[in-house]
């Protein structure tokens, strides 16, 4: 089977596609669907520019075959903003000046979304560990780490006082 019919649920919309089985999810998003918000940076799983959420987990779309994603829910950075209103993660990246050239930003934001879904109150060490799969060559990570922290603090529905995280992951 060199082509396969699949259905993807991308950013809340359903897409029925016939894809060549050797195409990566990154390629299908960018070239076939024109969703260029997800970036190619290396193709080898190192840079994280291609990070999207599959269900709620961050994965490298450059290492994922689109044909194996049938029925999956996929979120890209374009799926976060609510018709022009930035979500809290995007807003935190803007507020903390965590964006320079911006090429790493979509992947950073998606990685942050998956981190905060699992751990709504990460320590600085946990944030740094979580971001190891996203290379940024512009910022030295300083302001990105602050932005993730701010995103955690401004998460909608966040309890007034979350217990500070005790366990530090090295």
């Amino acid at each position: 089977m060199k082509n396969r019919d699949i259905t993807l649920h991308i950013n809340g919309e359903e897409y029925r596609l016939n894809v060549a089985v050797n195409r990566t999810l990154l390629d299908v998003l960018r070239d076939e669907l024109g969703m260029t918000e997800t970036k190619y940076g290396c193709g080898t799983g190192e840079c994280g520019a291609c990070t999207v959420l599959v269900e709620d987990k961050a994965v490298n779309s450059c290492l994922t075959l689109a044909a194996t994603m049938d029925g999956k829910r996929i979120t890209t950075v374009a799926g976060l903003a609510d018709f022009g209103r930035l979500d809290h993660i995007q807003q935190a990246f803007v507020d903390e000046a965590a964006i320079q050239c911006g090429y790493c930003t979509p992947g950073m934001v998606m990685k942050t979304a998956s981190l905060l879904a699992q751990n709504p109150d990460p320590s600085e060490a946990e944030i740094r560990h979580a971001l190891e799969g996203n290379i940024c060559r512009c910022t030295g990570y300083e302001k990105i780490v602050k932005a993730v922290r701010k995103a955690a603090e401004t998460m909608p529905g966040r309890a007034a006082a979350v217990e500070p995280c005790k366990e530090v992951v090295q």
Binding site: T36, G41, C42, Y103
Partner: protein, 793 residues
Amino acid sequence: MSEQAIVGTNAPRVDVRDKVTGQAQYAADVRLPGMLYGKVVRCWEHAHARVKRLDLSAAAASPGVVRVLGPKDVTPKRYNSSVLDLMVSESMHDMLGDIDDQPIFTEHVKFQGDAICGIIARSEEAAERAAAKVVVEYEPLPVYLTAEAAKAPGAVQFTPEKPGNRAFQLPEAMFPNNALGGGDVEAAMREADIVVEDAFYVPKQKQCQMEPHAYVAKVDSGGRLTCWTSSQMPKLVQRKLAKLFDLPMNLVKIVPTVIGGGFGTRLGMISEPQACAMALAVPGHPVKLQTLREEDWVISPSRHPGKYWMRIGFKRDGSPLACDARFENYKGGYYLDASGTAFTAGAWLGGMYRFPALRYRGESYFTNQGLTGAYRGYGNPQTNFVLEQLIDRACAGLGADPVEWRKKWHKGVGDDGWCPGVTYPSCALDECLDRGAAAIGWTEKRRKYARQTGTLRRGVGVAVMNHTSGAMPMLLEHTACTVKLNEDATAEILFACSDMGQGSHTALKQIAAETLGFPFEHVQLSGGTSDVAGFDIGAHASRTIYVGGAAVKKACEEVRRQLCERASLQLGVPAEQLDIRDKRIFVQADPARGIDAEAITRAGVYHFVDPATGEPGGVPGQIQGYVSFFAPHNSPPFGASFAEVEVDTETGEVRVLELVNAHDIGRAINPAAVEGQLEGGIQQGLGFVLSEEICYDADGRVQNNSFTDYKMFGPEDMPKITTILVEDADPIGPFGAKSVGESGLVSPVGAVANAIFHAIGIQFTEAPITPEKVLKGIRETGVRDYGSIGGGR
């Protein structure tokens, strides 16, 4: 002019909403109807070879292929992908000789990745499949990876223009004895009580901008060639492409795309010639050429590696007498900007300390390594690694405190900067050193770590640097800027210099708003395509704010002058006595008296005669300001870095615990952006000194052209960072600003090396200082307390 205080605030970046939502369009995101895909077939097997046979027939027959292009199917003209030739005068050209040595497709492979031919197909995949079917037979040639090998007698000559494969040495006509500096070095050295000397090796570092290079090119029915590119220098690329393809400049249009990081790699062209050659082969059809990461790695120029020897003599009281240095760098297979780094490495050296005698010789040799060219810092990290370590070696011998010694002997206001005759108008390096030392706890830690026991040893180190704000007086410093006022008194600015992500367009907008007396939100600034924007040499040499900002300011001042003159007619007060704030022009002595700018701009555009009076309302004409600006001076920034490291003496691993970067930037137009530059610089500086180096095998094939094999500091590797902005307004820069774009990465290099010296008493002459080298050093000489070295404290 009264300050509105837009300058100096963290005004929100103009491009971030697009970037954070994924709407920003980088070159690879450009999609046009009917687009075809190009692929450059490259030589991956050899770093030096002649093409004996090229057979494109199977590739041409491959499904989806539209055209195949060999060397004979494109212009035989050669080009130089760098742009220095456009920035120097005719007489300098004569000195450099013919430096157009790059063909679009080559028959003499000079480095791994050299372009052999091109494929145009209906999809990227079809193009790649066809590329695999190209048959090339090579005749391998000897591979030269170092200057020593390339200059050996009998070596294959890279170009007849450059005998001995010496691409460049400081020309005799400008630098007697091919050396930069002055004074009698040999005589001074004889007077010296202490001489420190060593031969160093500085590594080949990759910019690793996150966006791989990509282009779209198209020829329209009128024969106009349009190229979408993320070059840092759109206007110079327009000129270069026009020259290469024999087109008048009006038939070449550059559309600058959002830039996903540059750091020098986008200085000039990379694959624009190939992309445009393809577009010219299929007029009417856009061709997209997207490089792969592994391809970008080998074809885009990297930092110049090479041998760097230095000797410095001192009096026993610590006063420096002379510095003698030689940097022999390893170019790649083509010239590019061979004159650049070979010169600037010495220029930064000359600009740092008050050496009564200085002799610096810089040379570039062709090799079969990948290309070298501009990389943020441009020769400065190389010099920092060498100079700052030797200074600390001398301080240890002299019993001098490295901070105090630097405070005493660094150059300052009134001294010659990196170019003789261009003096430093400002210098706050002492304050950088004082505040940085306090932040890291210098005095206490220097004392504490001078005697240690145990496996883990700590050290603190310092290094300083000077850089540049633009390239005046060496290179052309020209920027045009147009400011036009709309009828509702909002401003639109056209300024061709790119924002590579530093936030320069935001800061320029702040400068404009401040100068005009308009709110930030009522100013628009765009780079524009090459057919509408005026001349600009591009974003390099840390010039965008210092030179570009001055141009924007001057053009805005012109607009302001026109506004005030028209207001003066209505208010009956001389223009000089007026001021503007929040778009209201008012009398300085009587702020209640004034007129809204909008009343003037509206009347200027919608100019009618009042039917009742028969009188025209206001002064006719849309207000525009235009400047073609040449930088009058250069106000270099200074910086001091302090590092604290911990060395594991059993494994040689070095952990950077803290890095303090104190920078004299004159004035921060947008402090958050300035911090961002310095923080990002630290990540690259730490890479240079500790982890990053492109390696080749004996056949010149790159060993680590991926993020899997080439390692940069990640978020967990980064130390605690403290950024100190020392703001001592420069008398010349716009609002007192000097540059900050490149300098942040420079002095962390020396500071880390010196901190390692302080921790274990060993200096390393080869960067990056890997655990393998540290452990070898420890095994050879043993860990030594800094306190036990030649009277150090």
